[in-house]
Every structure is written in structure tokens, then in C-alpha cells.
């Protein structure tokens, strides 16, 4: 019969040779191999103390960005919700009132902005869709939670700390990405 691939190998059904029948030689060989592994460097990473670095293009939890004066960039245009294939994003828009110019960059802002992290597939299409560079995906992932409602992230969970009031936290959240 024609073999399906050229990697096919006939099963060797030769009776064992005398040395193989004694088992001892082959067992000794095997034990030397395991002894070698005994002294090898371990592959384990002790997780909470030691973390594996993420790739710069890693797509993790979302962050709502602010501009350099600490104003929210999001204008609640809804393009991210439209782009989202998993329909994880919902938002409600509101109009900026006089005196709130230091909070929101444009006249319209998102009064409510929610992402359901159980639905999100972390594809990054919202980041690509955003015309205002307001949403991007960070290098962390959603921590575990006991309840479903814990996975619905509201605005206070997503917003980046203000660069004016809390520059240290802001730099940490930005990481090694280019700000703005």
C-alpha cells in the first residue's frame, strides 16, 4: 500500500536482543538521562514574584486615555462599540457643561463606558477604530473574579490616572508605549 506520507515508519516487531532482554543496560542509560535532567536549569517561573515580560504588541486590558492636560479624550462616538466583533462595549454620551473644560477635551463625552471582559476577545479592533486615540489595550490581563459583574469594567476601572494629579501612576500605566 502506498504510504500517506514519507514520514511513515513501519513498526519494528523484531524480538528483543539479549542485551535488551536483560533490561539492565537500557535502564542504566535511561537513568543517566534523568540524572542529567536532575541538574539542569529549571524551566519554571515562580509567578507572583517573577513575571514573564509581555511583548510590546500584547493586547490586554483596555485603558481609556487622557491628553497631556489630564482631560478625557473619549467623545463617545461609538466607533469602538461598532467595531467590536464581540459586542463587549457599551457607552452613553453626555454633553459637556460650561466649567467642565478641564475634565473633557471636546463638547461631547462618555458619561458611561463599559466593557464586558467576559465577552471581549482582546482583538484590538476598538483601538484601531478610535479616531481620538482614546482607547488602547495595555499589557495586563483581567484578574480573576468570583462574580460575573466583577468582569464588567466601568469608566473608573478603565480610565488612566491623570498625568497632572498622579504623574507616577500615569507613567506606569503608559508603560513603554508612546504617550498620546
Amino acid at each position: 500500500m502506498q504510504a500517506l506520507t514519507n514520514r511513515a515508519k513501519a513498526v519494528d516487531r523484531k524480538p528483543l536482543s539479549l542485551v535488551e532482554k536483560l533490561y539492565v543496560v537500557n535502564i542504566a542509560k535511561g537513568m543517566m538521562i534523568t540524572l542529567g535532567h536532575f541538574f539542569k536549569k529549571k524551566a519554571t517561573i515562580s509567578y507572583p514574584e517573577e513575571k514573564r515580560p509581555f511583548s510590546p504588541v500584547f493586547r490586554g486590558l483596555h485603558i481609556l486615555n487622557r491628553d497631556e492636560e489630564g482631560r478625557e479624550r473619549c467623545t463617545a462616538c461609538g466607533l469602538c462599540a461598532l467595531a467590536c466583533p464581540a459586542e463587549a462595549i457599551t457607552m452613553e454620551a453626555a454633553e459637556r457643561l460650561p466649567g467642565e473644560e478641564n475634565l473633557y477635551r471636546e463638547e461631547k463625552y462618555a458619561a458611561k463606558y463599559e466593557i464586558n471582559m467576559l465577552r471581549c476577545i482582546f482583538c484590538g479592533l476598538c483601538e484601531e477604530a478610535c479616531p481620538k486615540d482614546a482607547v488602547y489595550l495595555s499589557e495586563t490581563f483581567a484578574p480573576s473574579n468570583y462574580q460575573r459583574k466583577g468582569f464588567i469594567y466601568g469608566k473608573q476601572d478603565l480610565l488612566i490616572p491623570s498625568p497632572k494629579e498622579n504623574p507616577g501612576e500615569y507613567q506606569k500605566a503608559i508603560g513603554n508605549r508612546k504617550a498620546n
Binding site: Y23, I27, G30, M31, I33, T34, L35, H37, F38, K40, K41, K42, A43, T44, S46
Partner: protein, 355 residues
């Protein structure tokens, strides 16, 4: 005179009681840390780190495991034979602990001017006693498997029983060859001979090898762990067991491993004899010498325990027919051959090396 006899007896009773408690607790602690060592060795061989969270380097892990086993729900199946179901793990544990009675753990201690031999009972049929008690260990498996009223457990128990019985034969035959050389069944006598001369491993390498293989089989360790073959028998004879009764079975296995390591060290590797060192010439060291001897015995035992684990994480399990073939067609003829050759040599020697 009567009261004097009574007084001496009282001291002896106290001495032996202290010895028994010490040896039992030492073997329990060693068995506990064997479980830890087993996990560490397994991890290291598989390029992992092993348990390292409970305490520094994870040394409290066995305590955590024990606590977990004690806290678990104890289930006795409805259809099981209640008495036998409880008797099984008890027997396994008891048989495992009893062997340590005849093993010489060191020389003679001097406690406030009173010589104390570090051996619970120096009976003149020491090896036969070990043999008898070890073969009693199979009752734990048999009774546990039978009382569970579960076909997998019963199959495992049958396998275990036939395996242990088959491998006892070559073990006994290899011991006969050794006993022809030593001329004594007394454990302390065998060690004393090795302290003066060479270790028995020099005279009996083949005998030791057969004994080692049989010890693996007797302890139900890989590659002979067929009674608890997870993938074909779901867990073997302790499938229905939970909580500390399961813990007793697992513990008995580790104690057995410890005891068989001690027996191997005693019979073939000079017992508590310190290598390249004349123990008799340093008798003035007193109790320190005895402590050193105990430590040396412990090091030898640790090596054997490591060997058990090393083999376990290297070799896959034998098929059942391979196991039986190896036992009956491989090891028994080999040990018979060893016995005949040894007998011929002993005869030749007693004849003054003349034919």
C-alpha cells in the same frame, strides 16, 4: 533478690520503650519527608521546581498534606465489609512498622553508665523475622482490596498478592546465598562481620542486584507498581479509600521503602559501618562514635531511597506478563545460579581451596 530482678527488668522495659518510640517516630518522620523528597525528585527530573511554597523550600509541605488528609471526609462504602475495610490500612501500616524491630541502628550507647544497644530486639532469626513481617504486608493490600467490594480493587489486590509472592522467592534465594557466607541469621552478627571484613556487596554483587529488584517489587514501586496502576485499575486497591485511611496506605508504602533501604544497607553495605575507617580503633569516642555510625547508616539509606525515586521517575511500568516472566523465568533461575555458585565457593573455601 526478687526485687532486684524486678528493678533490672523495669530499666530494660523503659530502655526498650524509649527505643521503640524513638525508632517509630523517626521512621514516621522519614516517611513524611520521603513524600516531600519524592515530589522534589520528580520535579527536578522533569525540569520543574517542585513544592516550594509551604515554608522555606517547601519543607512544611508534608505537614500540609497530612493536615489535608485528616480534614477530608471519611467515606466507607455501603457494600463494603466494614471491619475488614478498616483493618486493611491498619495491617499495612503495622506490617510496615514492625520490621524495624530487628535492625541494628548503631553501636552500643553509654547512657549514664548503662550500655544501651541501638536495636530493639536482637533475635537470632533476624532476617527470617524481617521476611515474615514483610510478606505479611500483602495482607494489607489483599484485605483492603477485598473489603472495598469493587472489582478494580479486587483485581489490583490479586495482582499485588501474586506479585509479592512471586518476588519473594528470588528474594529469599538471593538471601540464602548471603546467609551461606555469613553463617548467621542474626542482623547484628551480619553487621559485625562486615565491620571487620569487606562489605557483603563485594562477595554478592549479583545477590544484591536480585535483592534490589525484588525490593522494588515488594514495595510496589515503579516499575512494579501494578497493584496501583492508575490507567488500568483506576487507582488499584485503595480506590475506595479516602481521608487518613488512604493516607495510611500511602504512608505504609513510604515506610516500606525506608525499611527495605535499611535492610539493604544492613545486609549488603555494612549497616552502620563507617567506610574507610576503623570503628574498633576509635572506641574511646564513646557516644560520638555511635552517633557517627547512625548518621552513616542514614546516609546509606538516603542513597537507596533516592535510588527508589530515581528509578520510579525513569522507567515506565511493566506489563503484567512481563512482570511474571521477569520474576519466574529471569530472577529465579538467576538467583538459583547465584546460590549454587556461592555454595560451591563456600565448600571450596572450607576445603582449604583444594578439590
Amino acid at each position: 533478690m526478687h526485687s532486684a530482678l524486678l528493678a533490672i527488668d523495669l530499666f530494660l522495659v523503659i530502655e526498650k520503650l524509649v527505643l521503640i518510640i524513638a525508632i517509630v517516630s523517626i521512621s514516621l518522620v522519614i516517611a513524611m519527608y520521603e513524600t516531600y523528597a519524592e515530589r522534589k525528585v520528580a520535579a527536578f527530573i522533569q525540569d520543574r521546581k517542585g513544592p516550594n511554597r509551604a515554608g522555606p523550600f517547601g519543607i512544611l509541605q508534608p505537614l500540609a498534606d497530612g493536615l489535608k488528609l485528616f480534614m477530608k471526609e471519611e467515606i466507607i462504602p455501603n457494600t463494603s465489609n466494614r471491619l475488614l475495610f478498616i483493618l486493611g490500612p491498619c495491617l499495612a501500616m503495622m506490617a510496615a512498622m514492625m520490621t524495624s524491630a530487628v535492625i541494628p541502628w548503631g553501636g552500643t550507647l553509654n547512657v549514664f553508665g548503662r550500655p544501651v544497644t541501638l536495636q530493639i530486639a536482637d533475635i537470632n532469626i533476624g532476617i527470617l523475622y524481617v521476611f515474615g513481617v514483610v510478606s505479611m504486608g500483602v495482607y494489607g493490600i489483599m484485605i483492603g482490596g477485598w473489603a472495598s467490594n469493587n472489582k478494580f480493587s479486587l483485581m489490583a489486590a490479586l495482582r499485588g498478592a501474586s506479585q509479592v509472592i512471586s518476588y519473594e522467592l528470588p528474594m529469599g534465594l538471593s538471601l540464602i546465598a548471603l546467609l551461606m557466607l555469613t553463617g548467621s541469621l542474626k542482623m547484628s552478627e551480619i553487621v559485625a562481620q562486615q565491620m571487620d571484613g569487606w562489605w557483603n556487596i563485594i562477595y554478592q554483587p549479583l545477590g544484591f542486584f536480585i535483592f534490589l529488584v525484588c525490593a522494588f517489587a515488594e514495595c510496589n514501586r515503579t516499575p512494579f507498581d501494578l497493584p496501583e496502576a492508575e490507567n488500568e485499575l483506576n487507582f488499584g486497591y485503595h480506590q475506595e479509600y479516602s481521608s487518613m485511611k488512604l493516607g495510611f496506605y500511602l504512608f505504609a508504602e513510604y515506610i516500606n521503602m525506608f525499611i527495605s533501604s535499611v535492610v539493604m544497607a544492613t545486609l549488603f553495605f555494612g549497616g552502620y559501618d563507617v567506610p574507610f575507617f576503623n570503628d574498633a580503633a576509635h572506641a574511646d569516642w564513646g557516644n560520638w562514635l555511635v552517633a557517627l555510625q547512625g548518621a552513616v547508616l542514614l546516609i546509606k539509606v538516603c542513597f537507596f531511597i533516592f535510588l527508589f525515586m530515581w528509578v520510579r521517575w525513569t522507567i515506565p511500568r511493566f506489563r503484567y506478563d512481563q512482570l511474571m516472566n521477569l520474576g519466574w523465568k529471569g530472577l529465579i533461575p538467576l538467583s538459583l545460579f547465584n546460590m549454587v555458585v556461592t555454595a560451591a565457593f563456600v565448600l571450596w573455601k572450607s576445603n582449604g581451596y583444594k578439590f
